[in-house]
Symmetry: C2
Subunit: 394 residues, 2 copies
């Protein structure tokens, strides 16, 4: 039979991301394209111990159906994590999700009618763009600089689009740029959201992984009108395979979120919720996060050094103080997809910048990941990349 | 701020299901309202052993990101389960989901445009109705009898609604009725789907839990045109807390499903996928299913006996050969919600039939669950229910 899909299914004739992943999956290719944590730091033994305790003390509970808002043992632990992040909240304001991707999807589903305007940083996380598009959003991008979203441009966008429903931002170690919104801009951002009365989706998967500079409170910390929905995840600080994230938000938003969540998957994996809650009870998560940050710091420095040595002198790049990504902008008018093909011929890959732009991409941009590659791979891969850039830019 | 939700968020002023759950949660009330498996049969020790093996042999893999289609080790096991269910398929046709609820949600999202017509059994699983409504479906119910959906009424509906996009059915031990579609009707059902060229969503969460009668192949077995999307789950045969289900379908449908799945939660819990795959490798699942079926059989018989002894003589009820539910239809014109209130006053609860109807409910109907209540509870609760019915029907 011929299948007639709904308008929500993307037209996939031009699957750029698929092609990139396919090229990057070739074993001969060194890939800086991924966004994966370093698996050698997964606390496998500690997680096994936590799982054993769960099976021995609450096995039947952990294997039974749970509730859509999430297990209280885990939400109690999240309250503590939030306090450490300078957000004072209570367990009633916290919902557990099947990872940040689900948080983004359900919030988009519950707020965006077809044609609604949403504002994002330009560039931004490509899966968020896919989700917003699937609900028919009109996406407006706002220019960034090294201190995150530009507030003058943000207000311009708000004035030009008074119908704006919400703004989505990754303030800390942004994906794909690695940039962090400055303290002043955080305050101004919340003031503008208040002034123009829009909802804020704050996505903070990387904030905890800081290896340099001073910690900055999330936007939620400055939120006096309960309009910021804060999202985070265990994917980067513990284990992405367990697909557990959370949101912190207004009670009315949460009660509707729970209804949407129930229709999406009833609730998140109950066994994994109990295991992570137990892990947090049995271990010092900050000791673990320190190990991750130290390793990523080392890999970042190595990649930075290679950029300085191997890249054209006028290439620009971000200097993230944490997270997993460096953003590169090449001088001149470079066709990024052509450049990508040249690099793959040199057996090295990245994610071309185009996918991260809601509308017109900035040419000659790409994202490098340093969290999931060892020293030797960074050295060899960055040499190849430097050679490929020289070949392409001749 | 005032939150403006999208049209997809249900208007929850009248949260009947919430009220029912609240009433049933009162510890003084014996509840036959739930749909939970018997937790005392969860294979906690075996699951712990499987988890230990996973942590010891593939811990890093299980904790890392995976792919949207699901882990191959689990999909390989599902191929075997499907063969036992008389469906010959290959691993390429199988996608892992975060439980059947997600299978239903994503299929609805990818096929239903607002205003599209979908056909369902009347009554049917209430969460499916919620999902279909959230995507703006026009839902047409088809009458059932003791042999499942009536084929004459099905064809009438297809003729009356030539625009029909898909039909959703639970052919075996249906929720809420416990009824099973007969062999002849299964064949006729697929013929009608072919003739009117519509997609079939076959939901089979309970089929494996048979304690009486002859096993019947799923609709997918009779599907010569690859139009049946078969859905099942580990929730009823292993552990609902781990939120893992699967679909078996056409390759084109699956490739689009995977795109939707990626936007929904990237992939299902990878640790749980590895644990269940390992459990299936280390244990005889059919021995475990036999234990479940035997216990449910015993509880069903006990509830049936109580119905015969305690209920009004002219009450009708289904006689399921498996699964978890009995459906009751009372004589006369009974206001089900009033009846429910009387029963709660007698400290016993069920799910009133109204929620299971897409449009006009049949009055005086309700669903009883027997899988999650022990002998004494069944005896005491059914006595209370009998007394309440007598009081209400006087």
């Amino acid at each position: 039979m011929t299948f007639e899909y709904s308008k929500r299914v993307p037209q996939t004739d031009n699957d750029v991301v698929g092609e990139i992943l396919e090229a990057a999956a070739n074993p001969a290719v060194i890939s800086f394209a991924g966004g994966l944590p370093a698996p050698e730091l997964f606390p496998v033994k500690e997680m096994q111990k936590a799982a054993d305790t769960v099976f021995e003390t609450e096995g039947q509970t952990a294997l039974q159906y749970s509730n859509a808002i999430g297990e209280k043992v885990l939400r109690d632990e999240i309250v503590k994590l939030m306090a450490d992040r300078k957000v004072t909240t209570t367990v009633d304001h916290i919902g557990v999700t099947t990872g940040s991707e689900q948080s983004i999807d359900l919030l988009a589903k519950m707020f965006i009618n077809p044609g609604d305007t949403v504002i994002v940083e330009e560039p931004t996380y490509l899966c968020t763009l896919d989700v917003f598009r699937s609900y028919g959003a009109n996406i407006v991008g706002v220019e960034m600089d090294e201190n995150g979203m530009r507030m003058d441009k943000f207000e311009e966008a708000l004035k030009a689009h008074p119908e704006t429903k919400l703004v989505y931002t990754i303030p800390t170690f942004q994906n794909p740029t690695g940039r962090t919104m400055s303290l002043d801009r955080r305050k101004e951002f919340v003031e503008l959201a208040n002034k123009y009365d829009i909802l804020v989706m704050e996505d903070d998967p990387y904030g905890a992984i800081r290896y340099e500079g001073t910690e900055l409170p999330p936007l939620k910390h400055f939120d006096t009108q309960d309009r910021v929905v804060y999202m985070s995840t265990f994917s980067k600080i513990l284990a992405p395979g367990m697909r557990l994230g959370w949101i912190v938000c207004n009670l009315d938003v949460l009660s509707n979120f729970v209804v949407m969540k129930q229709s999406a998957d009833l609730h998140s994996d109950n066994l994994s919720q109990h295991i992570i809650a137990k892990f947090l009870e049995q271990n010092d998560i900050y000791k673990h996060i320190k190990e991750i940050s130290d390793l990523y710091h080392h890999r970042f420095e190595l990649m930075l050094e290679a950029i300085k040595n191997e890249f054209p002198a006028d290439a620009k790049y971000s200097h993230p103080e944490g997270g997993m990504f460096i953003w590169v902008e090449l001088p001149g008018d470079v066709d990024t997809m052509e450049l990508f093909k040249t690099c793959v011929e040199h057996n090295v890959a990245f994610v071309p910048g185009d996918s991260f732009y809601p509308n017109q991409p900035k040419r000659g941009t790409f994202r490098l990941n340093f969290s999931n590659v060892d020293d030797e791979t960074i050295k060899v891969g960055m040499k190849r990349l430097g050679d490929a850039l020289k070949a392409a830019l001749q």
